[in-house]
């Protein structure tokens, strides 16, 4: 899956190199009705895309090509005009993207939260910490292994924010950077008995982990996903249709029920305010 996504990204990028001008890449790569959705690995690794995209494709004439990469790279792909629509969770970068005039419209889609997970047994006793700053301090003080995405993703950006807010430098020997998506990073963390920051959805959806949540619930751990229509997108019609569709009531209900049967709790909470009938 990862390689398929990367391959699509590369093909899209290469197509974009052939001609100048915004939006040409997606146009060159896509047949009529092909919508390039640049999104984060968490929407794919949690299984959400597989669950809801077929409904969108069945409802209209747009075929979606999801490119699941870190949020930073997803935004970069959109900035180059190589994607028609963005589904990301890196608010600061998204706002910059809008300010620069690359986005036509940005709407809140859903939210969940980030959680700190660690090995069962919690050797650094993180669970006893009152807040996330104290939790991170305990990890650093214990010199415990910590697996970082290290990939400019929304989760990585969040993690770096947390270190900065805590006034800590993540540079001890067992601070591991995987450069991979959330799924592989969770596996590596579990096997290395390391702590890591993850979105709740991917953590719940990843099987075979010998890890548990050691800290959750701070206000600062909120995780919000926005859909952004790229300005002058090659397939603007499908992009608008997608943004309308993912924020409408029926889809929002599908997002809200996704995973509830398997994990006792939904992985994402629908958050769109402009749901229509």
């Amino acid at each position: 899956m990862i390689r398929a996504a990367v391959a699509i990204a590369v093909l899209t990028l290469l197509a974009g190199c052939g001609s100048d001008g915004e939006g040409s890449g997606a146009e060159a790569a896509g047949a009529e009705g092909a919508l390039i959705l640049a999104t984060t690995t968490s929407t794919r690794d949690s299984g959400l895309l597989d669950a809801i995209l077929p409904r969108f494709e069945a409802a209209g004439d747009c075929a979606v090509k999801p490119v699941a990469v870190g949020s930073g790279e997803a935004i970069e792909i959109a900035r180059r005009g190589d994607a028609d629509v963005l589904l990301a969770h890196s608010p600061a970068e998204e706002r910059a993207f809008m300010r620069e005039g690359h986005g036509a419209d940005r709407r809140l889609v859903m939210r969940n939260d980030f959680v700190l997970v660690g090995p069962t047994g919690d050797p650094a006793d993180v669970a006893a910490a009152p807040d996330v700053t104290a939790a991170l301090r305990r990890i650093v003080a214990a010199g415990a292994p910590f697996a970082s995405r290290g990939d400019d993703s929304g989760t990585h950006a969040k993690e770096l924010d947390l270190w900065r807010l805590a006034g800590l430098e993540p540079d001890w020997p067992d601070y591991l950077e995987t450069g991979q998506g959330m799924g592989p990073t969770l596996q590596i963390a579990a096997q290395k008995r390391a702590y890591t920051l993850t979105d709740r959805g991917t953590f719940l959806a990843t099987e075979g982990l010998d890890s548990r949540i050691v800290h959750e619930g701070d206000r600062g751990l909120a995780n919000r996903y926005h859909v952004i229509e790229v300005r002058d997108a090659a397939n603007a019609a499908c992009a608008a249709e997608f943004a309308d569709w993912i924020t409408q009531a029926a889809t929002q209900r599908a997002i809200g029920s996704f995973g509830a049967d398997r994990f006792e709790e939904p992985l994402f909470v629908p958050a769109s305010k402009d749901g229509r009938g």
Partner: protein, 235 residues
């Protein structure tokens, strides 16, 4: 075109500037793959020799297994090794998952069928009467095998080159077993995948160039040994 030119320029800077990260990843790639190739040689050349020369029940089946091994996708090898090395797996106590040691194990299994298979074919390609002549000259088993290896040194070197080439160029097993952890298990191929995914084409191009250069350098050394001895044979 900007993307390509920027990438090439950045790659040039990294290679010429002997970028520290580049050198570190290059060193790890070379160490892991050369170690794996050496181990695969130590097992595969004797095993291939035995398969090529000896007659025993089930030999044909083993040969089919070896040839099949040459075609097994490296991700499948990575999956099997990861399941074994997994903390909860049968070899979990060794704590080799996501370490260079684990990657060496995977690459041994990747290079071994090639080295064994080509060795077997090389041994079978030797003239049948050669072994008889050597025995008639009073060679014991050990001397016989060494003489046959010298006779087949060109294909044997080709076997080693094929094994090394397969090991260093694969990315599937390196990702699954190694995990691409920066500073610990990241190798050239996994670094290329990561950087392409992040749109950092400069480092990706630099790693690809260095990977090809490393393969070229090692094969150039082996080929020069091989061809010198070929010339010597004809002289």
């Amino acid at each position: 075109m900007d993307l390509i030119w920027d990438g090439l320029r950045r790659a040039f800077e990294l290679v010429v500037g002997l970028d520290a990260t580049l050198l570190e990843i290059l060193g790890r790639s070379a160490t892991v793959s050369l170690t794996a190739t050496a181990i695969a040689m130590a097992i595969g050349i004797p095993a291939g020799t035995a398969l090529g020369l000896l007659r025993f029940p089930g030999r044909r089946l083993v040969a089919v297994v070896v040839y099949t091994g040459m075609a097994v996708p490296t991700v499948a090898v990575g999956l099997v090794v990861a399941l074994l090395l997994w903390r909860s797996g049968p070899l979990g106590d060794l704590e080799l998952i996501y370490t260079p040691g684990g990657m060496v194990i995977a690459q041994v299994l990747i290079a071994l069928p090639l080295i064994t298979g080509i060795t077997m074919a090389a041994m079978q390609a030797l003239p049948a009467e050669l072994a008889d002549q050597l025995r008639a000259l009073g060679a014991n088993r050990r001397q016989l095998v060494i003489q046959l290896w010298l006779e087949a040194r060109l294909p044997l070197l080709a076997a080693v080159m094929a094994g090394f080439g397969h090991a260093i160029s694969e990315v599937g097993a390196a990702t699954i077993v190694g995990g691409n952890i920066h500073g610990q298990t990241q190798v050239l191929t996994t670094a290329i995948v990561e950087d392409v995914g992040r749109g950092r084409f400069g480092p990706a191009i630099a790693y690809a160039v260095v990977l090809v250069a490393l393969a070229f350098a090692i094969n150039a050394v082996l080929t020069s040994v091989q061809q010198r001895s070929a010339a010597w044979t004809q002289a």
